[in-house]
C-alpha cells in the first residue's frame, strides 16, 4: 500500500517535471515543425542560470529571471541560427539543434565546470511537508506540482483561446501565406521558439535542484523528452501531459516493483538461474520509455492524442 501511494506521488512529480520540459518542445515542435534536439540543453541552461542567480540573490528572483534569460538565448538562437537553416528543410533544422546541443554542453562545462554544482532547494521550501508511513514528504515536490499545473493552464489558454495561436498554427504549414495576410511570421517564430525555450528553462530552474545540476543533465533527459512528445502526439499539449504522467508513473512503479522475470514468467519454466530470469522489473525502468516510443511509432504513429503522423 505505502509503496503504491509513494510511487504514485513520486511518479506524478517526476511526470510533471517531464511535462514542464516537454511542453516547450511540444510548442516548438507543433508550431514550427522543429524537432529541437537542444531542448534539454535549454533546460540545463535554466538550471545553471538559476544556480548563478540564486547564489547572488536568492531562488525567487532566479525563478523569474532564469527562464527569461533562457528565453532570450532561445530567441537569439532562432533569430541568428535556425532562421538561416529553415530554408534547407527540417532535417537541416534538426541537425542545427543537434549541433547546438553539443555546443551548449561544452559552453556550460567551460563556464560552470565539468562537475555538478551545488544548486539547492530554497530554504523556504526545504522542509518535510508531511510524514506518511514513516517517510517524510518534502514540500518542494508539492511546489513543483503547483508550478507545473499553472504552466499547463497558461499554455492551454494561450494555444486554444487566442488568435495568436491560430496564426502560429497557420504559419507552420503556410508561412508565406500568413505573411501575405500581414502577419510578421519570423517574429512569431522567434517568439515561439523563445517561449518554448523559456519553458524548458523554467523546468530547469525547478528540476535542477530537485535532481542534479551537472553538464550531463541535458543528455540524460533529452531523449526521454522526445519520447514524451512523440508518445503524447505531435502538437498535443494534452497528449504531452498524459504521456508525461504515464512515463513518470511507469518508471517510478517499475523501480518499486520487486520482481524478476523468473517470478513473472516462472510458469514458462524461466528460472532464477538463467540470465533472463534474473532480470528484475526495476532494472527495466530506464528502457521502458524507449520501448514505449518504438511501440507507439509502430502501432499508432500519431501518438496518443495527436492529429497527424510525425
Amino acid at each position: 500500500m505505502e509503496t503504491v501511494v509513494f510511487s504514485l506521488l513520486n511518479g506524478v512529480i517526476y511526470g510533471l517535471l517531464l511535462f514542464m520540459l516537454s511542453s516547450g518542445l511540444t510548442l516548438i515542435f507543433s508550431m514550427m515543425g522543429v524537432l529541437n534536439f537542444a531542448h534539454a540543453s535549454f533546460y540545463m541552461l535554466g538550471a545553471y542560470f538559476a544556480y548563478t542567480i540564486s547564489s547572488v540573490s536568492g531562488f525567487w528572483l532566479a525563478l523569474i529571471f532564469a527562464p527569461i534569460l533562457v528565453g532570450l538565448v532561445g530567441a537569439a538562437t532562432e533569430r541568428w541560427g535556425l532562421r538561416k537553416v529553415h530554408a534547407n528543410g527540417h532535417v537541416a533544422e534538426l541537425l542545427f539543434t543537434f549541433g547546438l546541443a553539443y555546443l551548449i554542453d561544452e559552453v556550460v562545462k567551460i563556464i560552470w565546470g565539468r562537475n555538478s554544482v551545488d544548486y539547492r532547494v530554497p530554504e523556504l521550501l526545504d522542509f518535510p511537508l508531511f510524514t506518511l508511513y514513516g517517510t517524510q514528504y518534502p514540500a518542494y515536490r508539492i511546489f513543483i506540482l503547483f508550478v507545473a499545473v499553472a504552466m499547463l493552464v497558461a499554455l492551454w489558454l494561450l494555444l486554444k483561446r487566442t488568435r495568436a495561436g491560430l496564426i502560429i498554427q497557420a504559419a507552420l504549414t503556410h508561412p508565406e501565406m500568413v505573411g501575405h495576410l500581414g502577419h510578421n511570421v519570423p517574429r512569431i517564430f522567434m517568439t515561439v521558439f523563445g517561449v518554448g525555450c523559456a519553458l524548458a528553462g523554467l523546468a530547469g530552474v525547478i528540476g535542477g535542484n530537485y535532481l542534479v545540476t551537472d553538464p550531463a543533465m541535458a543528455i540524460s533527459i533529452g531523449p526521454i523528452v522526445f519520447v514524451v512528445v512523440v508518445v503524447g502526439g505531435l502538437g498535443s499539449l494534452e497528449g504531452a501531459f498524459i504521456a508525461s504522467l504515464l512515463l513518470g508513473l511507469l518508471q517510478t512503479f517499475a523501480v518499486s516493483i520487486d520482481a524478476s522475470f523468473a517470478d513473472i514468467f516462472g510458469w514458462l519454466g524461466l528460472g532464477e538461474t538463467t540470465e533472463v530470469g534474473r532480470i528484475t522489473i526495476a532494472s527495466l525502468a530506464p528502457m521502458l520509455p524507449f520501448l514505449m516510443l518504438v511501440l507507439i511509432l509502430m502501432v499508432r504513429p500519431r501518438g496518443l492524442m495527436g492529429d497527424r503522423d510525425i
Partner: protein, 234 residues
C-alpha cells in the same frame, strides 16, 4: 493621377535563371488589370516579386512608397492583398477561422466584417464552421479572396483563380471578382482564360519572355490578332 502601383525595370531570378527581365507596369486606384501571357513567361513570378516572395531587383512603388525588398507582412500592411496560385487555405481551420486570420489588426476593423462577407457569399456562410479543407475547389477560391479582403487591401493580386476548376465554377469565380472590383478595390488579375480576363479588365498587359510586350484596353486587344498570335499562342 498618381498610379497606385508602379513597377519599373523589375528583374528577378531563380538561382541563376533570369526570369523577369525589366518588367514595367502601372495600376491606377480602382483599376482592374489583366496580365496575360504564355506558360512560364513569368506572370506568377511578377506577382511574387511584387509581394516579396521572390527577391526583386528594380523599383516597385506602392502608393508612392518603395516596397521592393520589404518583408511580405509589411507589404501587406500597406494595403496590398495577394491570392496566390495554389490558394493556400488553412485546411484544418474552419472557414470562419480562416477569415479571422485575414484580419491584420483586430483593433482597426476594415471595410468588411466577417458577417458581411458571409452574407455576400452564401456558399461560405453555409460552411462557416466546417474545416476549410473540405470545400470544393471553387469554394476554396472564394474563401481565399474573402480572406484577403478581410485585410482591407486597396489592391489585390489574384493569380490564376480559375486554374483547374470545372467549367461551371470558372464562371462563378469570374462573377466574384467582378463583385470585388465593384467595391472599388483595384485588381491585378493573372489569367489564362481570355473570356474572363477580357470581361472584367479595364486594361490588359501581355507578357513575353520576362517583360511586358503589349498593353491596351480589351477592345484594342480584340483588334490585335497579331499580338494574340505572337505572344499567346505557340
Amino acid at each position: 493621377m498618381e498610379p497606385m502601383l508602379e513597377v519599373r525595370d523589375l528583374n528577378a531570378f531563380y538561382g541563376k535563371s533570369h526570369v523577369l527581365r525589366g518588367v514595367n507596369m502601372e495600376i491606377m486606384p480602382g483599376e482592374v488589370i489583366a496580365l496575360l501571357g504564355r506558360n512560364g513567361v513569368g506572370r506568377s513570378t511578377t506577382a511574387k516579386a511584387i509581394m516579396g516572395e521572390v527577391a526583386p531587383r528594380g523599383s516597385i512603388k506602392f502608393k508612392g512608397q518603395e516596397i521592393a525588398g520589404l518583408e511580405s507582412y509589411r507589404i501587406a500592411h500597406l494595403g496590398l492583398g495577394y491570392v496566390p496560385e495554389n490558394r493556400d487555405i488553412f485546411p484544418t481551420m474552419t472557414v470562419r477561422q480562416n477569415l479571422v486570420l485575414g484580419i491584420k489588426d483586430m483593433k482597426t476593423p476594415g471595410r468588411w466584417s466577417i458577417e458581411q462577407m458571409l452574407e455576400m457569399f452564401p456558399n461560405l456562410k453555409a460552411r462557416a464552421d466546417n474545416p476549410a479543407g473540405v470545400l470544393s475547389g471553387g469554394e476554396k477560391q472564394m474563401l481565399t479572396m474573402c480572406r484577403t479582403l478581410m485585410g482591407d487591401p486597396d489592391l489585390i493580386i489574384i493569380d490564376e483563380p480559375t486554374e483547374g476548376l470545372a467549367p461551371k465554377i470558372v464562371h462563378q469565380v469570374g462573377d466574384t471578382i467582378a463583385e470585388i472590383a465593384k467595391a472599388g478595390v483595384a485588381i491585378l488579375l493573372v489569367e489564362q482564360k481570355l473570356s474572363i480576363a477580357l470581361r472584367i479588365a479595364a486594361r490588359v498587359y501581355v507578357m513575353g519572355h520576362g517583360e511586358m510586350v503589349w498593353s491596351g484596353t480589351p477592345d484594342e486587344f480584340r483588334e490585335r490578332e497579331d499580338v494574340r498570335r505572337e505572344w499567346l499562342e505557340v
